[in-house]
């Protein structure tokens, strides 16, 4: 208690320590975010015609009728939900498998599994698009060799295929992250409950389903939430794989293109704010879905 009293008489101390970081963050977040909001309600210059002054909802009105935007909304949400769901399931499975190995072997395997997570997403996109190249890709060659197909498949010829490729690359890169967090969660679980259930004759699956999974759920939900936030702002894969192709464009690519390539900061800012709203909506829905079963079991 002595420390608290001592500190309370000097309330400037924590703020002095916080000040440099908070001022930097204000310059980085508050100012640009304010600027973005201001730009979103401003007119854009058109060619040699300078921007008109005054506030406007024009940007948002155009955005609502922009087919490319709605396509990006669909691409991004399909990608994010598909990737996070697959990564969570695979992450749990891998963590359970890893837990069965001795600790030294587990460490070595974890180090190998983590490698794709360290690879720049740009490089991952390059690697996978080369492997899945319709003419010279090794995957098509293997499938032809195995007699499963007669000629190479153009994997990214359809919008669905384009999203699927991004999901696959993301699974390659982000599953280790989910595995790691699940493993940490598994190791912090109380062993007594499982021992007791085992003595009562519960099968492995029953133990997992009724003891491990509910206890692990809060950790998993938070980990999946962070993955979802990350996946919803995905830029690298879409940009490197598909450039400015509308069929494979993510929301982040859409916004960045408006700002950089089309020189429309106002329209870009409006689409950035709308992206925030889409992300907020999906995350809120997701959180409702994952919180519900936990409340039920507790």
């Amino acid at each position: 208690m002595g420390v608290r009293g001592h500190l309370k008489s000097f309330p400037w101390q924590p703020w002095a320590l916080l000040a440099p970081a908070l001022i930097t963050l204000a310059a980085l977040i508050v100012v640009p975010l304010g600027q973005t909001i201001h730009l979103a309600f401003s007119h854009d210059p058109h060619g040699f015609v300078p921007a008109r002054a005054g506030m406007t909802f024009e940007n948002f009105r155009i955005l609502l009728g922009d087919a490319a935007w709605w396509h990006a909304v669909r691409t991004t949400s399909l990608f994010a939900l598909g990737a996070v769901l697959a990564e969570t399931v695979l992450g749990i499975a891998l963590a359970v498998v890893l837990q069965g190995f001795g600790s030294r072997l587990r460490g070595v395997m974890l180090a190998i599994l983590l490698l794709p997570w360290a690879v720049p997403a740009v490089v991952a996109a390059r690697l996978w698009s080369w492997m899945l190249n319709d003419q010279y890709g090794v995957l098509n060659a293997a499938l032809v060799h195995a007699g499963l197909i007669t000629h190479g498949i153009a994997w990214t010829a359809s919008p669905a295929g384009m999203v699927l490729l991004m999901v696959m690359i993301d699974i390659w890169q982000a599953t280790p992250f989910m595995t790691l967090l699940t493993l940490a969660g598994l190791q912090s679980l109380p062993l007594e409950a499982m021992e007791a259930a085992r003595l009562d004759g519960a099968t492995s699956w029953q133990c997992f389903r009724h003891i491990t999974l509910p206890l692990l759920w809060p950790t998993l939900a938070v980990a999946a939430l962070f993955r979802l936030l990350d996946a919803l702002r995905m830029f690298d894969l879409s940009s490197v794989l598909y450039g400015s192709d509308i069929d494979g464009m993510s929301l982040s690519v859409f916004v960045q293109m408006q700002i950089v390539q089309f020189g429309a900061p106002g329209y870009g800012a409006a689409s950035a704010l709308a992206t925030l709203a889409v992300i907020g909506l999906i995350v809120a829905l997701f959180w409702r879905c994952v919180s519900w079963p936990r409340g039920e079991k507790a």
Partner: protein
């Protein structure tokens, strides 16, 4: 452990599942390596082995612009790591070890800001950076990357500071040890693992960062490696230099991969601590 001791066949399915996972993990990297040894018509061979031929690597490594990109990546990632740690350590100390009004608000704001996507501030940041005269300079990248590095560092280190025993402060205060001396001589050595983890994770994230690096740099002088790998394109539609792309890709991947192999325990400890706390 329990499951495997009960199931006599437990080992075999574990090994099958693990082999599948390891194969899926390593094959893309292996295939990139095989491709990077090839050029010309050999590129289109799908034989899964190739004699090591470092021709592509020699071409890239003898190109000074490529070295420029590598140095740019190194400078910006290290600078972001150092600056964010210098700013984050005092802030994390305050948040982790002091009780004061507004602490909860600051923590909530930090979490909130780490949830913001980069594009939310992109158009505003573009104007700020142009006005600061940083556009197309390495400084723009270092400044922009703090956006995700700083909240992460503060959050991670605040957890490490918080977990130190309380008696530490009381004993030090009784000895008449001032705040700064306490922080530097007593706490810093104890949170060293957290500092290393935060520094390494930030370095890796900045090395791999693409959106800001693509947006705020225009010319070779400030371009980073991932951007250059992302922008390699075909001289003509029928002549994609895949051997070259794969060599450049692997070279750009080497530093983060080496970091993970060398510091796996420190980095994973930081990751799990950051997510669980």
């Amino acid at each position: 452990m329990i499951a495997s001791s009960r199931w006599p066949c437990g080992w075999s399915w574990r090994w099958v599942a693990m082999s599948g996972a390891l194969l899926q993990t390593l094959f893309p990297l292996y295939w990139a390596l095989v491709t990077s040894f090839r050029h010309g018509p050999a590129l289109f061979s799908t034989v899964p082995v190739a004699r090591p031929d470092f021709g592509n690597y020699r071409v890239i490594l003898s190109d000074p612009t490529w070295w420029r990109y590598a140095v740019n990546s190194l400078i910006s990632a290290s600078a972001v790591g150092v600056i964010s740690l210098v700013l984050a350590i005092p802030a994390a100390y305050a948040l982790g070890r002091m009780s004061f009004r507004g602490r909860g608000t600051v923590l909530a704001l930090l979490v909130g800001s780490s949830m913001l996507p980069q594009i939310a501030i992109l158009s505003g940041l573009f104007t700020v950076i142009s006005r600061l005269g940083l556009y197309n300079r390495l400084g723009s990248l270092i400044f922009a990357d703090l956006f995700f590095a700083l909240p992460f560092a503060i959050w991670l280190l605040a957890g490490f500071f918080r977990d130190l025993p309380r008696d530490l402060d009381e004993a030090a205060a009784l000895d008449g040890c001032g705040l700064l001396r306490r922080l530097v001589t007593i706490h810093l050595p104890l949170v060293w693992p957290g500092i290393v983890a935060a520094g390494l994770l930030i370095f890796m994230n900045c090395w791999n960062e693409f959106l800001f690096a693509l947006t705020f740099t225009l010319s070779d002088s400030a371009r980073t490696l991932p951007v250059s790998v992302g922008l390699i394109s075909a001289p003509s539609r029928f002549e994609l230099p895949f051997g070259m792309i794969m060599s450049a890709s692997l070279l750009a991947t080497l530093p983060p991969v080496l970091l993970v192999l060398m510091f796996q325990h420190r980095m994973t400890a930081g990751l799990t601590a950051g997510a669980v706390k």
